[in-house]
Symmetry: C2
Amino acid sequence: MKQKSIFFALAATFLSVICFAQTNQTVVENFKPSTVNQPGKQYPMVNSEGRVRVQLSAPEAHKVQLDIGGVKYDLVKNDKGVWTGESAPQDPGFHYYQLNIDGASVPDPGSLYFYGAGRWGSGIEIPAEDQDFYALKDVPHGLVSENLYFSKITGTWRRCFVYTPAGYQKDTETRYPVLYLQHGSFEDETGWSAQGRANLILDNLIAAKKAVPMIIVMDNGYAYKPQDNSETNAGTHPPSAFEEVMINEIIPMIDSRYRTIADREHRAIAGLSMGANQTMRIIMNNLDKFAYYGGFSGTSNYPSSDEIDPATFLNGKFNDGNAINRQIKVFWLGLGTKEPKPFPASVGAFRNMLEKQGIKYHFYQSPGTSHEWLTWRRDLNNFAPLLFK
Amino acid sequence: MKQKSIFFALAATFLSVICFAQTNQTVVENFKPSTVNQPGKQYPMVNSEGRVRVQLSAPEAHKVQLDIGGVKYDLVKNDKGVWTGESAPQDPGFHYYQLNIDGASVPDPGSLYFYGAGRWGSGIEIPAEDQDFYALKDVPHGLVSENLYFSKITGTWRRCFVYTPAGYQKDTETRYPVLYLQHGSFEDETGWSAQGRANLILDNLIAAKKAVPMIIVMDNGYAYKPQDNSETNAGTHPPSAFEEVMINEIIPMIDSRYRTIADREHRAIAGLSMGANQTMRIIMNNLDKFAYYGGFSGTSNYPSSDEIDPATFLNGKFNDGNAINRQIKVFWLGLGTKEPKPFPASVGAFRNMLEKQGIKYHFYQSPGTSHEWLTWRRDLNNFAPLLFK
């Protein structure tokens, strides 16, 4: 629930700006269907200001709202019972949203659906100036494959998606390094290849020879032992059994099913938000397994902004800065410039600790984006080129 | 639109039965969450009679309905603004459904979403007595991979899903036969692996040594040349350019990306409803490419029930029965016993023609199912074991 309240806090801070925009600007009438609409659907639409316009037939309803960025916008009904209305300008990139019909929160029947905020629901894409790096282009494309596996640790069937780069299928001799890439809280294993566009980002980077061909494994960060009550653990940071599942089940499964180079020098791990928190714990506890780390909008001291004592933090894993500099070839952190509390201060406290310990790291700031997917697409686009070189 | 009106006609024929059930039976209170609910969601639920119970918070609404099988069931609001209600018993298997809130048709926020009836929307699974054949079981699992490719014929990026059997990744020498498997009208390339469970059906068949390991290609049957107006063509039987895309683009792409055995003896083609219609045309026009055919709930004379003249039907392709018996190793048709008009009579007219021409064929009837996915799952389960032997 922490993550959710952060989203709402963020929304509240923007509210005054939004109200200003609504009263002082006219809406620019150049709306086009969203690029992530269902086939043949005209609505939702987006205009050049980044406003989202939705439309819904609900003849008997007395109130219909568009709920996006934590703000609810009233729609207006015409004489045919069709409701229409638009939001204030949204940040570029991908956003979750929903409709509210007489008090019921439901997906927009016009959009494609994505898993985030703890449910399958509507998503919309606001064109970004730099959208080319995650566009579907005329370059060789890798595959995203769905893998089912049984976890003895959790006692459940689990699923991961695996990106293999273009050429993997054809050239059956080559072996590849692997990036393990994790989603955030209230998201799942579908996020990075759907709204994250990880496959397209890597297709484009590899085609431009900016990144080396690599496998990417996108699993589900929620993993609980059978004796745990998953109801009470849901959403905790981190879920109780994920590290064990990653080390003892996912990595061996991937090394067995795919042509990997199965050593630490050819294994990276990264994640966003909760995933950044989880993967930092995993690499620090398993430096024999990974040599590269990416933390997108998160660190393991989350949500604290207090000064970190390396003698005690993560059981002293950051005590010996020189050893970490030798072992971790790339230590990478990213953050959007518009991210809400507590992310800037929490990541800031972590960076202070790194600097105090003399640990070398990269820090990337995504301009004008918040705790959302454009930040994380940019993170991946900047992080992946540094790997396995 | 033909397909849609058939669904409604079917629903209407059952209406009297349903009303009888509602007034003469009490609802059995053993509801359990549907197996295709979103994570953590309790509703929708299904009971042992096959009734679907839904629940939605909509405090301000004055009418909420469950819309399933073409019938709308009124829900009842409690003092907290939560609406609950259930349908009459449904056939076993998978059904699309939606909610109606004060006149707005929307997905149920509790279910997973599937593409069918021309939109992404809610689906529900009524347990079938024979559900074991499509269950996720402790057997070796194949992969389903998402392939992107650019079609020069349509001028668009297209997508197909490809099932590769367990062992395909590991044993990089073996080559495999291929089944091209098509969805029905108002469905897409996601249907066969999501609600169709084609991957699980084949995993189970192959593990039991009932079917030989094979690749399955699931593409999108809607394909139009740029000069065609796709708006006016949408839903026509068959879409204008699919045959050309299949022969000139999909098959070469699959033979290039996957380790196939690229000859007619190792290539099968099948489809359901519109896909049965399309694939029958494709095999009859391309007997040098395929040696196996499966038509699930459809034939190329659809929607006619008139006697077929083999001299003119499909340009006389069925004229020489002996030649067809030599060329097509398995000619297979399937139909549910509860399918609505015009399917039984249309398929019946086609069978009469086959018999008149002395063409050998298999005919399977799925007991107690209609023009829905349990019929097609059973079709695949009975058809696949006959292939490539």
